[in-house]
């Protein structure tokens, strides 16, 4: 259901998330059920409303808000939306735009640092390994002391493999990452 009057964000959200923004009637059920809403600067239904507007001011607010970074991906909003929309998928599209444009609010930088560290670990060896992930995260976030006491406890419980493992197909996985980076959109 495309429309010539659709603004660029609405088109991107429809193509990438399968969500037609104009169908949201702002009932607020997504916000009511969201476990992370209390930590967000704007609520999930406000994200949907601003996305519907899609003008310069709205985009500025959306791409610099913290809310995008605090979605836990719990799927409650999509489960309960009476219009069968998926606000979390809309947030995914917006977060990717914010990430690519480097617009990340200071309060959310640790969240982005974690995602980046996770993906860097996967790109390197094909799998996420906790020790490399945590080291990369600490360097990116500069959160050097947080949870420093947990590593010895995890080692004592034999929860961390001591030898790193890289899969045979890691070159293939790296090529997938490179190709994804070269995509132009969003």
């Amino acid at each position: 259901m495309s429309s010539s009057r659709e603004h660029p964000l609405a088109q991107a959200v429809r193509e990438e998330a399968g969500v037609v923004l104009s169908e949201c009637y702002q009932c607020g059920k997504c916000t009511a059920g969201c476990p992370m809403a209390r930590y967000m600067d704007i609520s999930p239904n406000q994200v949907m409303r601003l996305a519907q507007a899609g003008d310069g001011d709205a985009m500025e607010r959306l791409l610099s808000c913290e809310a995008l970074w605090y979605c836990a991906g719990c799927l409650t909003c999509a489960q309960r939306c009476p219009r069968k929309l998926d606000p979390a998928a809309v947030m995914d599209v917006l977060r990717e735009m914010a990430h690519r444009r480097g617009k990340v609010p200071a309060a959310a930088r640790k969240v982005r640092a974690f995602h980046e560290a996770f993906l860097a670990a996967v790109e390197f060896g094909g799998r996420m390994e906790e020790i490399p992930l945590v080291l990369r995260y600490k360097l990116k976030s500069l959160d050097l002391l947080g949870d420093a006491g947990l590593a010895p406890l995890m080692l004592a419980r034999r929860k961390l493999p001591l030898l790193p493992h890289a899969i045979r197909g890691r070159g293939e996985v790296r090529r997938i990452f490179e190709k994804c980076r070269k995509r132009t959109r969003p």
Partner: protein, 287 residues
């Protein structure tokens, strides 16, 4: 079901190793061979879909393509997040030939769509139906709450065998282990998921709410199937105890551990000695 494909996923090689140990032990006890997908890669978990939507499909696509080329038509993914990403990708591919074509080009492997993905609840139910029930000779006599969290309860066309608002998929198995399943309010609430390190305060708040509800229901333990939920409720419980935000420890067991105990397997062989919150009080010889 004699042979089943197996996708452990990254967590199960690290912090979630107890889930791997107990799933493998339970399969052995039931006479089912788990065939691990060779050279599997990470599914991307929450990180890929947070930053790059193409990567979030491409990583699971490679896993599905490998499974298909290795002749595995049914694959168990015990981690709830891996299950959700792998099955969700399969569903999206089956609906969009255009997406399939793009992924074929991106990953440079064909995938025809022949692989079905099982979660831990479906796996345990299949084992029970296949004869495991008769091997559960040890009745544990515990009061349990079943915790599905997000990804074993929700996901349109992903969790297809359960009710998203009132999931029941673990109950028969918990009862088969000789335990009582208590009604409670948090079976499908979120524990904070992947924010354990990057937004720890939210994980402490949400996990505390789940633990408070379990205690209010009168539970001896919480049963889960998700390594993220387990890590948040078990490892992060140390912090809640230290700050006196909860009155006492609440053991968190994987469904496969509970069934393994009922089958008479050794607690250490199931990984119980690796949890942060001990379960010694629950079972004789517990860790």
């Amino acid at each position: 079901m004699k042979t089943l494909g197996y996708y452990p996923g990254c967590s199960l090689r690290g912090g979630g190793i107890e889930l791997d140990l107990s799933v493998r032990a339970l399969a052995r006890a039931a006479g089912v061979e788990l065939r691990e997908i060779e050279d599997w890669n990470c599914c991307g978990a929450s990180a890929a879909h947070s930053l790059d939507h193409a990567l979030a499909v491409a990583l699971p696509y490679r896993v599905l393509a490998l499974a298909e080329s290795q002749g595995l038509s049914e694959v168990l993914a015990p981690c709830a997040a891996c299950f959700s990403r792998l099955k969700g990708t399969g569903v999206r591919l089956s609906r969009s030939p255009e997406l399939s074509r793009r992924m074929h080009e991106l990953v440079e492997r064909p995938y025809r769509g022949s692989v079905s993905i099982l979660n831990i609840n479906e796996f345990v139910a299949a084992l029970l139906a296949g004869g495991l029930s008769e091997k559960l000779t040890r009745k544990l006599g515990l009061k349990a709450v079943a915790y599905y969290g997000c990804l074993l309860s929700r996901g349109q066309d992903i969790v297809t065998n359960d009710d998203a608002e009132d999931p029941k998929g673990m109950e028969a198995a918990i009862r088969a282990a000789g335990c009582e399943v208590l009604p409670w309010n948090s079976s499908n609430e979120c524990c904070g998921g992947g924010f354990s390190m990057s937004k720890t305060g939210s994980v402490l708040d949400l996990s505390q709410a789940v633990l408070d509800e379990a205690r209010a229901a009168g539970a001896d333990l919480v049963v889960t199937g998700c390594p993220m939920c387990h890590s948040n409720l078990d490892m992060r419980q140390l912090e809640l105890l230290k700050r006196r935000r909860i009155p006492g420890a609440m053991p968190i067991l994987y469904l496969s551990e509970l069934l393994g105990l009922a089958a008479g397997l050794e607690p250490a062989a199931l990984g119980l000695d690796r949890h942060f919150i001990g379960s010694r009080g629950l079972v004789r010889g517990g860790a």
